[in-house]
């Protein structure tokens, strides 16, 4: 290797990532008054989390079927006000059980 692994890890990766994380957080110290920008920032978290979830969740497990079931179960649990842990766990259990059943059906 021509390049130093630690320069890669600490400078190109860690330092760059850290700067991205802290710049807005440290530079923007006051409330933004602009209504468009406030609305934009209000929507950002929901939009970004939703587009990260779908369709990526379909590829996270061994079968898209188990993942799709988990998505539905977790959405229903969240809709009815269950907490973070319950929602996450309901998804995991759905995958675990449905993959057991799927394997049984195929074999």
């Amino acid at each position: 290797m021509k390049h130093n692994v630690y320069v890669y890890i600490f400078i190109c990766m860690a330092l760059v990532t850290y700067l991205i994380r802290i710049l807005p957080l440290t530079l923007i110290r006051r409330e933004i008054k602009n209504r468009f920008f406030r609305s934009f920032l209000y929507y950002v978290p929901y939009v970004t989390l939703a587009v990260m979830t779908f369709p990526a969740i379909l590829d996270a497990t061994q079968s898209p079927v188990s993942a799709a079931l988990a998505l539905v179960v977790a959405c229903v649990a969240a809709f009815f006000g269950r907490g973070l842990f319950t929602v996450a766990l309901s998804g995991c259990l759905t995958v675990f059980v449905s993959e057991l059943v799927l394997d049984y059906l195929i074999k």
Binding site: I9, L41, T48, V51, P55, T61, Q62, L84, F96
Partner: protein
């Protein structure tokens, strides 16, 4: 530590438990592949401890394995992690304006998809101690998983890893679904997000765009459109 900070720290620690489990599962798979990239378990652990991000580390390891230039890796990291810039923006508005800089610097390292997701969902202002609690649970999961994956290799049952991996998405779902109960705009917004994201990720015409970049493009386009069409009233924005 003030009582209120301690309470928030413990709350963050508790909410961080599913993140610990999810991170452990995901970083396990990252660790399993370390050898292929020509990295040692120690290098993997150091990377996970200092980077604390999945996509960024994966791209990093691939670039290291390809022995590409430093600038290539810096650009790849900016693209892979640019969504953290948006999250950092959103969190800057969630903190009390008088939150000291050192707390902002400390908190910054904790910005990941999942920790952001729970931090931005706390009612009212965000106490950085809540985020510290979540990081205390999550970072050992992430780093430990990388290490265990690197030394254990492929001996873990796939079914187990598969089930845990979905937990991370469960946490996202717990953050973006509850608002749709009371707010029709939010319900429509999430449906549009799913639809556009599906098309953008699955249509071959968009294959040339990097996945990290796709998330940013979708976020900026959809959130801007929503802000133009459905601007929030002040009272509504404050509960964000």
């Amino acid at each position: 530590m003030k009582t209120e900070h301690r309470k928030n720290y413990i709350k963050g620690l508790k909410d961080g438990i599913p993140i610990f489990l999810g991170y452990f599962a995901v970083s396990l798979t990252l660790g399993i592949h370390l050898q292929e990239y020509g990295l040692t378990p120690l290098q993997g652990v150091l990377a996970s401890l200092t980077n604390h991000t999945s996509a960024g580390e994966l791209i990093g390891f691939q670039t290291i394995a390809a022995d590409s230039g430093y600038w290539v890796l810096i650009l790849a990291e900016i693209v892979a992690n640019a969504r953290y810039l948006l999250m950092s923006f959103a969190l800057s508005q969630k903190l009390a304006p008088k939150t000291p800089v050192w707390q902002r610097l400390l908190m910054g390292h904790g910005i990941t998809d999942e920790i952001f997701s729970i931090s931005v969902s706390v009612p009212g202002r965000l106490d950085p101690f809540y985020t510290y609690g979540a990081v205390t649970a999550a970072l050992p999961g992430w780093t430990g998983g990388t290490f265990i994956g690197a030394i254990l290799g492929n001996v873990l049952p796939l079914r187990f890893v598969s089930a845990l991996s979905v937990g991370l998405y469960g946490m996202f779902i717990a953050a973006f679904i509850p608002p749709i109960r009371k707010d029709r705009v939010m319900a429509g917004l999430i449906a549009v997000c799913f639809l556009l994201s599906y098309l953008f990720h699955r249509l071959p015409a968009f294959d040339f765009i990097d996945d990290g970049l796709k998330i940013i493009i979708l976020t900026v386009v959809i959130a801007s459109a929503a802000a133009l069409l459905f601007p929030r009233k002040e009272a509504q924005s404050d509960e964000a």
